[in-house]
């Protein structure tokens, strides 16, 4: 299992990024946080991250677009979608498009830790998901 991950966080609320990054940094992960999706996408062009945590509603560029760009550059990256506007349809859409997890705000930090641990375990395994898996939902 991969222990220390490269994690990118993108959320337009600075406090969310600050809290998450300090918490995950303490767990030994290398974390970069952005409030501007355009800046996050520019960074993603330079570097492939193990995990990207993205808010969904962020103005001009939303989390779904971030996810598409992430997978274009790095299909192995685990996307964790967070949102304060959770619906079943949005959760289904996220997972169908390849998100690793979907977390509705408000959530506790320990939930993110659990998800990151699962992502680390999945990154250590050979890929098992095929496009047919998503199409079958």
């Amino acid at each position: 299992m991969v222990e220390h991950l490269d994690i990118l966080i993108v959320d337009d609320e600075p406090i969310v990024g600050d809290r998450l990054s300090s918490f995950l940094h303490k767990d030994g992960h290398r974390v970069e946080s952005f409030t501007e999706p355009t800046e996050a996408l520019a960074r993603l062009r330079d570097k492939a991250f193990d995990v990207v945590i993205s808010d969904i509603r962020m103005g001009e560029i939303d989390g779904m677009q971030v996810m598409e760009k992430v997978f274009e550059g790095s299909p192995r990256t685990k996307m964790v979608m967070i949102t304060g506007y959770a619906t079943l349809e949005l959760a289904r859409e996220s997972l169908t498009k390849g998100a690793f997890d979907f977390i509705a705000k408000p959530f506790k930090l320990k939930e993110i830790r659990r998800t990151i641990q699962k992502a680390a375990a999945a990154l250590g395994e050979p890929a098992r998901v095929t496009p047919n898996d998503a199409a079958a939902i």
Partner: protein
């Protein structure tokens, strides 16, 4: 299992684990939307179980 250097460290860690991340501008409505989402999630799960529907994404 976590190893702590002092009881205080353990307490602080537990407090941090319980810290809630929300939408700072709209906490109450965000919380209400989550309740609605969880209710819909449980309802959908119940319907799938009773109708023997798709279990592709049991988390959703």
């Amino acid at each position: 299992m976590n190893i702590y250097r002092s009881p205080m460290e353990k307490t602080l860690q537990e407090l941090e684990n319980q810290t809630v991340i929300s939408n700072p501008r709209d906490r109450i409505r965000t919380w209400m939307r989550k309740i609605a989402y969880r209710v819909a999630w449980w309802k959908d799960r119940f319907n799938r179980r009773t109708s023997g529907g798709s279990k592709q994404h049991p988390r959703v």
